[in-house]
């Protein structure tokens, strides 16, 4: 793994500042490239410095970052996207309406991947899926994890646990 390779390189450890911009600038300057910096919140200041330096010197470079907070560089367009997936909270859904709600669609699709016989036309299955999606606020990662449990646990138990135990 490269991470280990580079970790072994004492140079990059001891003098991180000196390895930074010039080589990357030289690399990016002639190229039309979209650079993605993922999970910037861990290193917000470094990401900001690096982005600003690269954007200033590389005319064709675009940077897309993901972060829990804006990176805070001039010219940054920050959008609160992706949104939480839409989920129905109160009214029970008919099977036909199910796919209108992205959260439910995600959950059901993932459950069906592990349980091919999971029946969306059965009212209790639908209702339980909707309950779970609402409890999880339409957060895709949480929905994926809950769907992963569906193989081992019945949906009503998953839903009940989500209701009673906030750490679940």
């Amino acid at each position: 793994m490269v991470a280990q390779t580079v970790a072994r390189s004492s140079r990059s450890r001891s003098r991180p500042a000196q390895i930074q911009s010039p080589l990357l600038v030289n690399f990016f300057r002639p190229r039309q490239i979209l650079l993605i910096l993922d999970n910037c919140e861990h290193l917000l200041a470094s990401c900001a410095t690096l982005s600003a330096a690269l954007l200033r010197q590389c005319a064709h470079l675009q940077i897309l970052t993901t972060s829990r907070e804006p990176v805070g560089v001039a010219g940054e367009l920050h959008l609160a996207r992706p949104r939480r997936l839409q989920c129905q909270t109160d009214e029970p859904l008919a099977a036909a309406e199910l796919r209108q709600y992205a959260a439910v669609e995600l959950f059901v699709t993932r459950v069906q991947a592990t349980l091919p016989h999971f029946a969306t036309d059965r009212r209790e299955c639908t209702n339980r899926s909707v309950r779970i999606c609402a409890r999880l606020d339409g957060i895709p990662l949480a929905l994926e994890l809950a769907a992963g449990r569906a193989r081992a646990l019945p949906l009503d138990i998953i839903a009940d646990r989500l209701t009673t135990d906030s750490t679940c």
Partner: protein, 183 residues
């Protein structure tokens, strides 16, 4: 598709049945075993490779082939291996993921190709499942990316920022060179 010999039980869903013969689809593992036996050691990966070879013969260009195979260019890995420690700033090494998309032809190499020197991870679980309910946001973000050079997606953990960024990159860049986890 590889099919089982026997007629399937009721339990097998219709999507896993051959519409012509009614027989069930073999599991990937079993298919791999049989294929290996029959071909004396080939793997299904090589079968896929062969499809790529044919499509290369038909004139498909390199970026499309790379995108299809999900391999970054192998050629560069060794050549670039020596440069990796020098080129990567500590900042980037600490990022969870670093992705580079280049528009147009593979005229040089992506930073990721330098990064992907030893054990490239082309099969992140991110890409193995379908993206659901993000069509509209992808359109919106692609147009936002026309207007700015630095676009930041913010949101709480688990809401899908990384996933959306990758999908967006794939959409606007035409294809991904590849990526590598450098946690």
């Amino acid at each position: 598709m590889f099919l089982a010999d026997r007629q399937p039980t009721q339990a097998v869903p219709t999507v896993d049945r051959c519409p012509l013969t009614g027989r069930a689809r073999l599991s990937y593992r079993r298919a791999a075993e049989l294929f290996s036996e029959a071909t004396k050691g080939w793997t299904l990966h090589q079968l896929r490779h062969s499809a790529l070879t044919h499509s290369a013969e038909d004139g498909t260009n390199t970026p499309i082939l790379l995108a299809r195979s999900r391999h970054a260019s192998v050629r560069f890995w060794n050549a670039m291996l020596g440069l990796v420690p020098k080129l990567l700033p500590a900042t980037l090494l600490n990022m969870t993921q670093l992705v580079v998309v280049a528009n147009g032809q593979a005229c040089g190499m992506g930073v990721n190709e330098m990064v992907a020197s030893e054990a490239p991870q082309q099969d992140l679980p991110l890409q193995s499942t379908s993206l659901i309910g993000r069509d509209q946001e992808l359109v919106e973000l692609a147009s936002a990316l026309d207007k700015t050079r630095l676009l930041t997606l913010t949101g709480v953990g688990g809401v899908g920022k990384t996933r959306l960024a990758l999908a967006l990159a794939e959409r606007v860049g035409g294809f991904l060179y590849g990526w590598h986890l450098v946690r």
